[in-house]
């Protein structure tokens, strides 16, 4: 007794070994996104990232606001790296509006940007720690971050959403006695992060856990267009602070950290080395900064650009090169603002890295991409 279904109704043959897991958006190990993972036993056979849960239409909103009022909402994608995410927009707007920034303002921007980079990386590191089940590495960075947040608060008046950079400089001058406090806290901060080595970075269990997982070769890192720590962990010496210095980075001595391995461990170690480098840059900038002078150029209310122009500026943020493409058509509002965010660019590597990995490696590979879902969605 054979009974055949019509072709359209025939049951699709499903490989029963494969199980589909929805990692996210309510999963503790995903952030604000979903990764659809198919596993065969403990091995991931396919992975499909699904961002978009926190898409806020920043680019659309920017077309309706003028160059100054764009500032508070354009820093929202990465509020813990808010100075850096605003930086390319401000640089681009300055070029479009034709503003020359005072020297002291440039140094203040560099200090704020480097402090913010450390704040971002500490947050990232805290989550990387808890993704690996290392609760101490969650608490220590989250606590020591307070040292720098305190500095940013003194500097800008807000703890995370600073809205500090404007076309033409920065909003306010440094408070009195800031240099000493900054130097003291940054020095202590550097001492603290060097203590992480014994517990985290030199921990043999961590090393055996993350070595040779999610290996991204040099060719693939370039081909996928990854950026930031992911790129530098794969052996590409590329840091915009050195390669295309903006503001006063060409006057500072910036060292680029490069590792050859391209695995999760290297990708997680590079940001930590970057933080130590940032401390150096802050010390240099504090030393070379002009002790007085203006920090902001007075703008006309509602500044306008001249005709149809476009500009593409990029900076090295905590996650990598962050670009901003502004098209203006001579009105008060920009015609189009496009943020080319590093998280989005690094996301392309995720499906390729996870394929063939074990499920236990998923959090470490995923978060070692230095990925921030809110920024990718914009």
């Amino acid at each position: 007794m054979t009974f055949t279904l019509p072709p359209g109704l025939a049951l699709q043959k499903v490989d029963e070994r494969i199980m589909t897991l929805n990692v996210g958006p309510q999963h503790p190990g995903s952030g604000h996104m979903r990764i659809i993972v198919q596993i065969d036993g403990d091995y991931i056979v396919a992975c499909d990232p699904d961002p978009g849960y926190v898409h806020r239409g920043e680019e659309k909103m920017a077309e309706y606001r003028n160059y100054i009022t764009n500032i508070p909402h354009l820093e929202r994608p990465v509020i813990h790296d808010s100075c850096n995410v605003l930086y390319p927009y401000v640089l681009g707007a300055e070029e479009l509006l034709g503003i020359e920034v005072p020297e002291r303002a440039k140094y203040v921007r560099v200090i704020a940007s480097e402090l913010n980079r450390c704040i971002y990386i500490m947050y990232w590191l805290a989550i990387y720690g808890i993704f690996l089940g290392h609760s101490t590495m969650f608490m220590w960075p989250a606590g020591d971050r307070e040292l720098l947040i305190d500095l940013m608060e003194k500097m800008t008046g807000a703890r995370v959403t600073h809205a500090h950079f404007v076309p033409g400089g920065v909003r306010n001058d440094l408070p009195p006695n800031f240099e000493d406090v900054c130097l003291r806290q940054v020095n202590y901060f550097e001492k603290r992060i060097k203590e992480y080595a014994a517990v985290f970075y030199d921990n043999p269990i961590l090393i055996s856990r993350t070595r040779d997982t999610g290996v991204l070769s040099r060719q693939d890192a370039i081909r996928y267009g990854t950026t930031g720590s992911v790129l530098r962990a794969s052996g590409v010496d590329y840091d915009l602070r050195v390669k295309e210095p903006y503001d006063v980075y060409d006057e500072l001595d910036v060292h680029t950290n490069v590792m050859k391995e391209g695995d999760s461990y290297a990708r997680s170690r590079i940001p930590w080395l970057d933080m130590i480098e940032s401390c150096n840059i802050i010390r240099q900038a504090l030393q070379k900064m002009p002790k007085s002078g203006s920090v902001r150029v007075k703008l006309k209310p509602n500044p306008k650009t001249k005709g149809l122009e476009s500009v593409y500026k990029r900076v090295e943020s905590g996650r990598g090169s962050l670009g901003c493409y502004i098209v203006s058509d001579g009105k008060v509002e920009p015609y189009r603002v496009k943020l080319s965010v590093p998280s989005f660019r690094n996301l392309i590597a995720l499906p390729n890295l996870l394929k063939g990995e074990k499920l236990g490696n998923m959090p470490s590979v995923y978060w070692s991409l230095n990925y921030w879902p809110v920024e990718a969605d914009r």
Partner: protein, 433 residues
């Protein structure tokens, strides 16, 4: 401005209090007093003034306070007391609660934060009670497609099995719930139940993450049970007995860890794995599989599993102490019982209290043994808790690799050391002991 509770009325509040008191008294009368009488009927009553006390006369201690101590002492010699209170469940639960408190505060200190601080006046000492109340008051949510009887039973079974494990641990000479001849085999048998309960709970939840977590727990526990058993065999060979009390008693001069350090290390690592503690907490790996096999458990079901986990932690630490650290053996530090309390009572100026005919409740040996046992157990628990602060989670393949190759090999080395000591005559008959 009563914005928080705009409907608040004092009379309603007092009414609710009285209501609660009424129900408490009712339940006490209907359940509490019968339970007390059942215990009184079951236990062997003491002889007072030459006549045997009957359960019906037991409550006469309300009129005659000198009868309290004999009744209490008689109760303490029953099995019910042993199971429920002292070497059994109550004692273990108390130590488990202390463990949770110490774990929280110690981990907080290590991570440069404060930890529980406001609940209870001193350093958040009542935090656990608050957590328990919260868990009891939470709604229990059962997944729609769960296999409900097994899903309900699994947490209860888990606690019961953990309590059964606790029953094997001798705390002081003679003070053990189940003093069986094949005690260690019984321990192995009970440990073997945990993966079954885990996989039952995980399977019955009918959800993906608990399933993966359950499978991982099964892998982990099964693969680590073999080195666990092997690592304990060395001590069994040297002692020549499987009875845990005898193993503890045999270490009166030196603990076995002196001769069997490799076995102790292997047992410690497998213990961490069996307890699902960091770095081996794969079945509950939060960032990978939410909460593993505990994902669908809610409310007090989760609380029961946590209770079972900490009971298990105490039991494993106790097993380590009994087998490698000499159990209750230690220098006598407890002062002898003052005999004049029995004959004369306490003289404080004009006031005379006593004499107390029922005393002493516990003898000196037992108090000293318990003290040393608790001290050693706390030390072992500290070392079980410490890795949580400094190690990340490991991966399944690393775990299985560690269990099946390295630890089993080391356990065999340990057995050979024990055999060597035995045949060389250093230990065993004619040796040091």
């Amino acid at each position: 401005m009563s914005v928080i509770a705009p409907q608040f009325k004092l009379s309603e509040f007092i009414k609710s209090l009285l209501d609660n008191i009424f129900w408490i008294i009712l339940i006490l009368v209907l359940i509490g007093i019968p339970a007390v009488f059942m215990i009184l009927f079951a236990m062997e009553m003491p002889v007072i003034d030459g006549e045997l006390l009957t359960p019906f006369l037991a409550l006469t201690w309300l009129a005659d306070p000198s009868r309290i101590l004999p009744v209490v002492k008689a109760f303490m010699s029953t099995d019910i007391f042993r199971v429920m209170a002292f070497p059994g469940f109550g004692f273990a639960a108390l130590l488990a609660a202390a463990t949770i408190f110490v774990e929280r505060k110690m981990l907080a200190k290590l991570q440069l934060r404060v930890g529980p601080f406001y609940c209870g006046k001193f350093e958040g000492i009542l935090q656990l009670m608050g957590d328990g109340l919260k868990l009891i008051s939470k709604e229990i949510i059962i997944p729609a497609k769960a296999d409900k009887p097994i899903f309900w039973a699994a947490p209860v079974l888990f606690v019961a099995t953990a309590a059964a494990f606790v029953a094997f641990i001798p705390v002081a000479p003679g003070w053990v719930v189940a003093d069986v001849e094949m005690g260690l085999l019984g321990v192995f048998a009970v440990i073997g139940f945990f993966p079954i309960i885990t996989i039952l709970s995980a399977w019955s939840a009918n959800s993906k993450f608990p399933f993966i977590g359950g499978i991982r727990a099964l892998f982990q526990m099964v693969s680590f049970e073999i080195p666990l058993i092997l690592s304990l065999l060395g001590a069994v060979m040297l002692t020549g007995s499987l009875n845990l009390s005898e193993i503890a008693a045999s270490q009166s001069s030196f603990p076995w860890i002196v001769f069997l350090p490799i076995g102790a290390i292997v047992f410690f690592i497998t213990m961490l794995a069996e307890l699902e503690r960091i770095p081996f907490d794969l079945p509950e790996a939060e960032s990978e599989i939410v909460a593993g096999w505990l994902t669908e458990l809610s409310g007090m079901m989760y609380g029961l599993v946590q209770l079972g986990t900490y009971l298990k932690l105490y039991a494993f630490a106790g097993l380590f102490v009994v087998i490698f650290l000499g159990g209750w053996n230690g220098p006598m530090v407890v002062p002898p019982f003052p005999a004049e309390l029995l004959t004369e009572g306490i003289h404080m100026g004009p006031i005379v209290a006593g004499p107390f005919p029922g005393l002493p409740l516990f003898d000196q040996e037992m108090l000293n043994g318990t003290l040393w046992f608790v001290l050693k157990t706390v030390a072992v628990i500290f070392f079980i808790l410490l890795p949580r602060g400094v190690f990340p989670r490991i991966r399944v393949d690393m775990l299985l690799n560690l269990g099946w190759t390295k630890l089993i090999g080391l356990a065999f080395v340990n057995i050979f050391i024990a055999l060597g000591l035995l045949y060389a005559g250093v230990l065993g008959p004619g040796g040091l002991q």
